[in-house]
């Protein structure tokens, strides 16, 4: 194996919420690695802690116990500001509800993360164009979210997630609000991105979608119950049992 550390490592990660003295452990003692270039699906019933886990990987939240390493560095040691800056450069989020800014057009939405990377407006717009082209949405650059279909909005959101060339794209049920055909298109887009080497972690409820990812991580009641890598997706390479 390579000498460089995995892109992301979780070591005995737990996250406990405390409301009115009642402690809810949303994620319990979870450990796994994500390697550069992987595409992984996170599955599990509602309330099993998938989003909580994703928020921690995305540096929006910190574990109550255990440690998360991003390229070998413990993120718990980073300041709030530092984690924000890392999010701008290294993490691309895709949400179930797209989360585009309604009052900005597609290209402005796509360019938004670069505002927080300190990049000039001219370059921001140039790169946003590229990113929109990569998801096939350049012709809709000056449309506002309300003028776009759900699938189109999600494409714009994916362009936004990609614009800063992040280390990892985190998608929380990206096809959850789409019909199955549009969902399949979005999934194909993710697969194509992964083919270019983009690391992707995607939460999904759809077993059909999960089977298209090489790796599936299953949660139940906050615990990791399965972490399977399918051999048949890439038949050339054999995987140890």
């Amino acid at each position: 194996m390579t000498a460089s550390p995995p892109l992301i490592s979780l070591r005995s990660v737990s996250r406990t919420y405390r409301t009115d003295g009642i402690a809810v452990t949303a994620v319990r003692n979870v450990s796994f690695d994500i390697a550069q270039g992987e595409i992984a699906a996170v599955m599990g019933p509602s309330g099993s802690g998938k989003s909580t886990l994703m928020n921690m990987i995305g540096l929006l939240d910190l574990p109550s116990e255990g440690a998360i390493y991003l390229q070998g560095a413990d993120v718990a040691g980073l300041s709030e500001d530092r984690r924000s800056s890392l999010r701008a450069r290294s993490i691309g989020f895709v949400f179930q509800s797209y989360n585009l800014l309604a009052r900005h057009d597609a290209i402005e939405n796509v360019a938004l993360p670069l505002v927080y990377c300190g990049i000039s407006r001219k370059e921001r717009l140039a790169r946003a164009e590229q990113s929109l082209r990569a998801v096939g949405m350049l012709h809709r650059a000056h449309h506002f979210p309300r003028q776009l279909s759900g699938g189109e909005q999600q494409r714009v959101a994916i362009a936004r997630a990609l614009i800063a060339s992040p280390l990892i794209v985190l998608a929380d049920e990206p096809t959850g609000a789409l019909d199955s055909r549009t969902g399949a298109e979005i999934l194909a887009l993710f697969a194509a991105l992964n083919q270019t080497g983009q690391t992707i972690v995607m939460i999904t409820h759809d077993p059909g979608i999960a089977t298209q990812c090489r790796r599936t991580i299953r949660l139940h009641d906050g615990e990791l119950v399965a972490d399977e890598t399918q051999a048949m997706v890439l038949p050339k390479r054999s995987v140890a049992p």
Binding site: A88, L112, Y116
Partner: protein
């Protein structure tokens, strides 16, 4: 994120809701407009007073008739001319601080030159009057001794009267005008002072008594309506004043304990006091206007707090995409600042327009002061910072995860 980007985002957000943005800044607009207007009117009033003080002349005392009694009945102040030409002489000769003194009687009359005529004050006095008031000639000469002694038919015109009676090319000197059917030769035209002072025509005191006012019942040969006197130095005003009072009391035989039949006034001092009063009133009005600025600030804070709540999801998105807490804070602070600055600018424009309108409609002098404008703008920036800080801070403290969950 830079300040500039903050302002760009703020402008974008405010443009989306122009009516709301305008209503939000209305308090600031009104506050700043009132401050600018009040300053302009106050400064104008002060300018006018200063001009009047200057036009009276430096170190001038004015002696007017005071209480008069007729058979034990106290008459209205000034209803009887209690001062005389010999009082003028005595003041000049016996009080060393007095450099010049002149008695006057005055009335109004129509002055006529050819087809033009004008109603103005006719002041009968001596050449000393112009010395007391430091009033120079624009053309011609003052009265000669012979004219003063012998009721010469000569007149010196105030600048305004000269302009009303003569056309631009005409030379008034040597021209004949008529006042109450008496033909008079114009021997001098005075320098400009201020509009109120320039509307006057001077004739020798003897001329006024003999030819115009001789028949008036309360005039005796020697009476004057008021006396003006020039004091040598600034510091000698109070001394000269009490000396004049003592002298006149003696000369008029005012018994001890009875009110003087004259009053000695320092018009410049009175006006300066008035100036102080104007300043106080102006400050009071500015304070009231500042309250409107405060209300404007509170209204901005209120709208900003609502806006932060409405835009919680946007804040969550921006945080997830890499916005730091301070970027969020800067964004909302910039919005408050832009609101206040824009409101301030509109307020300044409104204030300038308003004070110019007041100047035109009411005929007041207003003076628009760069300092007042700068002050008003500094106030509005401060308002933006103070009242924008809390909402901006609140926005920056939102948890991104919670913010993303809101609808």
């Amino acid at each position: 994120m830079t300040m500039l980007q903050g302002f760009q985002i703020a402008l974008h957000a405010l443009r989306l809701n122009p009516l709301r943005s305008f209503l939000t800044m209305l308090g600031i607009v009104i506050g700043v407009a009132s401050i600018v207007t009040v300053f302009a009117i106050g400064a104008g009033a002060q300018l006018r007073l200063q001009e009047q003080i200057r036009s009276i002349g430096a170190n001038v005392l004015m002696i007017t008739p005071g209480a008069a009694y007729q058979g034990g009945v106290r008459l209205k102040d000034g209803s009887k001319l209690t001062m005389t030409e010999s009082d003028v002489q005595a003041i000049l000769e016996q009080i060393p601080e007095i450099q010049a003194a002149a008695g006057s009687i005055a009335g109004t009359a129509q002055v006529i030159h050819e087809s033009k005529n004008w109603n103005t004050t006719i002041n009968g006095t001596t050449t000393a009057h112009f010395m007391v008031r430091d009033w120079q000639l624009a053309a011609g000469r003052y009265f000669s001794n012979a004219e003063e002694a012998g009721a010469g038919k000569v007149v010196i015109l105030g600048n305004r009267v000269a302009r009303e009676l003569f056309t631009a090319g005409e030379d008034p000197i040597g021209a004949q005008i008529r006042i109450m059917k008496v033909p008079l030769e114009v021997v001098g035209v005075l320098d400009r002072k201020d509009p109120a002072q320039d509307d006057v025509a001077f004739v020798p005191l003897s001329t006024a008594k003999l030819r115009f006012l001789g028949s008036a019942s309360n005039i005796n040969r020697d009476s004057v309506a008021y006396i003006i006197a020039k004091v040598a130095g600034d510091g000698q005003m109070a001394g000269a004043r009490s000396e004049i009072e003592n002298l006149l009391r003696q000369r008029h035989r005012v018994p001890a304990g009875q009110e003087d039949d004259f009053k000695v006034q320092d018009p410049a001092a009175a006006m300066e006091a008035q100036q102080g009063a104007i300043r106080t009133v102006a400050l009071l009005l500015v304070a009231i206007a500042s309250v409107s600025l405060l209300v404007g600030g509170i209204s901005i804070m209120n709208v900003m707090i609502v806006s932060v709540t409405e835009r919680t999801r946007e804040i969550g998105i921006r945080r997830a995409l890499g916005g730091r807490m301070r970027d969020i804070r800067l964004q909302f602070l910039c919005e408050a600042l832009v609101l206040c600055l824009l409101g301030g600018a509109i307020g300044v424009a409104g204030g300038v327009t308003l004070s110019m309108t007041v100047a035109r409609m009411a005929g007041w002098i207003t003076s628009i002061d760069g300092q007042a404008i700068a002050l008003a703008l500094v106030f509005s920036i401060a308002t933006g910072l103070i009242f924008g800080f809390y909402p901006a801070h609140k926005a920056s403290k939102l948890s991104p995860i919670e913010a993303l969950k809101t609808e």
